[in-house]
Amino acid sequence: MTLRDASLFALVAVLLVVTGMVQSWNLALQVLNMGLISAIMALGVNLQWGFAGLFNVGVMGFVALGGLAVALTAMPPVAEAWQAGGTGIVAAMITALVTIAAAVQVWRRRLPRRGWLVAAILVAGFMLYRYFFDPARDAIEDVNPALQGNLGGLGLPVLMAWPLGGVLAAGAAWLIGKTALGLRSDYLAIATLGIAEIILAVMKNEDWLARGVKNVIGIPSPLPSAIELQESAGFAAQFADPVTASTVTVKLGYALLFAAVLIVLLILMQLALRSPWGRMVRAIRDNEVAAEAMGKDVTRRHLQIFVLGSAICGLAGAMMTTLDGQLVPSTYQPLRFTFLIWVMVIVGGSGNNFGAVLGGMLIWFLWVQVEPVGQWLVGLLTSGLPEGAFRDHLLNSAAYMRLFTMGVLMLVVLRFSPRGLIPER
């Protein structure tokens, strides 16, 4: 890390402190927390793109899977729902697995007319699956639909969900990688874009799993909540303004947790980058043919990195859902959770872990702050205009300044400093 890099990080710190002093410490810590999570997502994308040159634009899907893992881990199981439809769901899942396995096996055997055979197996399997699945789903969704209507989770401590979120995302990434990684970069991009949409479609529509668009709320928190702090006599007595003090304390607690995860990941990533493995991966990125000629297994390394990077995104997604305390599938949008992460990596500096972290923190800060600044600017510029529909329209649309700003920022960095703020070394 050079002096310049350190001063860039110092700049982010100053920006956060100024936010704390001018606006509020609650907001500053909120920005810091999401910034830390964004930095972790950026690390995941950096591992894939910066280290290995894998073009993944399905980040949103893995982040959402991390969130799903939280709901499936931390929420208590719904015993009634399991009784009503548990067996049906399990049977349906087994049917699906057996069908796919059988289809793959038949395809590999190179039997005559295997295409028709595989199609027949898939159609029959699908009908059997629907036979088990449909009644089970209806039964589950009828169980106390206002609050549950799903199978619930495992009832484990919420922190367990973080690694599990990574594992869930890694599993999905393995499946995708197995099929799509042989494709060249543009096609992989389109494939991942599609996968992310499908993961979201499943999360929005499969109510039996995690309530779909009815959202999972009240996910247990790993830290005592602000209200619990205010009610505990010892805490309230120490501060003049217990409400602010308690919310700030809780956010500080999360910041410490997230920072710990980020630092561990950063150390691991730096070690990996400096190791022979890291050099090999970068060699593959720079010249696949040459690396393959040297006896490196390009396909396996690509799969490995795709899975690892996606797992990091899943971990970050789980952390984010824990912070929010709720799973709201409709909030996952590709611009925010895929392309913004890409802006972070490109602006920060792809191929450099510190760059990705800086990009994550800085871009997140801008993403949050451009809106009020834009509103203030527009307000200032339009103050001479008469009150009316046109001025209201301008004031309302100022909120969308952030997309515009991010695009301009990305284009400027790509043009004048294409290797990012902290370039690869």
Binding site: R184, D186, I190, L193, P334, M406, M410, L411, R415
Partner: protein
Amino acid sequence: MMDMLNALVALANFVIVPALAYGSQLALGALGVTMIYGILRFSNFAHGDTMAFGTMAVILFTWLFQSWGISFGPLPTALLALPFGIVICMALVLLTDRYVYAFYRAQKVKPVVLVIVSMGVMFVTNGLVRLIIGPDDQRFSDGERFLISARDFKEMTGLDEGLAIKTGQALTLVVAIIAVALLFWFLNRTRTGKSMRAYSDNEDLALLSGINPEKVVMVTWLIVATLATLAGTLYGLDKSFKPFTYFQLLLPFFAAAIVGGLGHPLGAIVGGFVIAFSEVTITYAWKKVLTYSVPESWAPDGLVQLLSTDYKFAVSFVILLVVLLFRPTGLFKGKSV
């Protein structure tokens, strides 16, 4: 016999007509994607937003004309506004090319860098659209709503099932056919069109033959802007305009272009219809059609819907994946570089 006819009409009403309209819209969009891929050699992530921008311009002109009291009789006013929207969209893509893409083209960067650059353009265009017209649904179709309404059809034929054809749907098909015919005439018959195809097939050879690359690129952008605005306006007339939906259309566009073979114009059209028909048939509830066409005792109890409509992305995606795995160059031989 009557039942068979009813089944056919129901099929036409719920599957064939919507899929034809949707397929034409996809084909126009995929043509834009495929042309950029063929000439400029990158996957343009900003295409959905270019489309939204062009459509937005058309909508603004439509509102202007409506406020002046100009209308187009039974046809939507948007048709009158279309040329103006196309010009605005052309200005946008030429400006982005001049100030963004030209720099990277001169440097001969790898295609993937251009893809990342197009992400930046996507953000900017998306932001502009939301700044100007906002993120909400806009309906801008006026004039006659139906070419044939379901009730008229029933009265005319005496069948139980009605066949409704919306003006937007009929218009989509007509405009798409004209646009595609013009495009193919241009590519195959004119000097500029031929030089574009030559440039797409072999850049170096084309340059050696004295083809001006800047002109080829400019004409490509103009055509892409036209196609994008057409596709967007027709989609908006048929359904409605919403910036986020247009952004999401990127996936079926790419699926259509890749299924047909990237860089292959005819492939993009075929791909568009393949995607549209599979999406509609797989997410359609077949109960009605089946009830008419099989003996009464076999009539299904359920909806006979293979997948709920929310999974339509999954359909285009699965087709995309199957094509990529088993025939990576697409149905027609596209580029596989």
